[in-house]
């Protein structure tokens, strides 16, 4: 596979994931008896994915986030992802504490926090082995 083919595939990965996530929301909502809200989720994700592709023609940053050719933008993406993960983990821990303070077990937030911690340890281990 040439670099051009690889870049093209990488470019389309995020928009396709966006549409797949939208479709998953739609199916979930449809199964749960709310097909209309599921359809709205799907439309939002399709529009978002399409907007990414359109904006990438004008914005170097968006194009870099999609095709991952630019090492600086990939590094920004990595740090932004890590920052987002930290915010989500902090929120999950906070929610677990609030649930416990209300006299509940803290589920499902405690399980989500445990999953996040486990994923972090696993990622450190894998990265350490890979060098």
């Amino acid at each position: 596979m040439s670099n051009r083919d690889r870049n093209t595939r990488t470019f389309w990965l995020t928009p396709i994931c966006g549409v797949v996530v939208g479709a998953a929301f739609a199916v979930g909502s449809w199964v749960g008896g709310h097909p209309a809200s599921g359809f709205v989720f799907l439309v939002v994700m399709v529009v978002f994915s399409g907007a990414l592709v359109v904006v990438s023609r004008r914005s170097e940053t968006v194009r870099g986030l999609l095709d991952r050719r630019d090492e600086r933008i990939s590094s920004i993406d990595l740090r932004a992802t890590a920052a987002s993960g930290l915010v989500v983990i902090a929120t999950v821990i906070g929610a677990a504490v609030v649930e416990m303070a209300r006299g509940h077990s803290g589920e499902p937030y405690s399980w989500l926090g445990a999953l996040a911690g486990l994923c972090y340890l696993l990622a450190v281990l894998i990265q350490r082995i890979r060098g």
Binding site: E60, T61, R63, G64, R69, D70, E71, R72, I73
Partner: protein
């Protein structure tokens, strides 16, 4: 042994060749923003990109980047 990159001559080398940041970025497979960030010292490139820059200008990495041993 510890080294620190104090600056670089990318802007000088580029302007001598009458190239724009976008043209240099395209030649090296990175964005114009990245070239700008390197030139202004806000971004330290990877070893691969540093070598790419040096090779592009027919210089050594030490000639392109100002390195100080601390």
């Amino acid at each position: 042994m510890e080294f620190a990159v104090l600056g670089n001559h990318v802007r000088d080398l580029r302007t001598v060749r009458r190239m724009s940041q976008a043209e240099l970025g395209a030649a090296l497979g990175v964005s114009r923003q990245t070239i700008n960030s390197i030139e202004t010292g806000r971004y330290l490139p990877s070893l691969a990109l540093a070598f790419g820059l040096a090779r592009f200008f027919d210089r050594t990495v030490e000639e392109v980047f100002v390195v100080e041993q601390r």
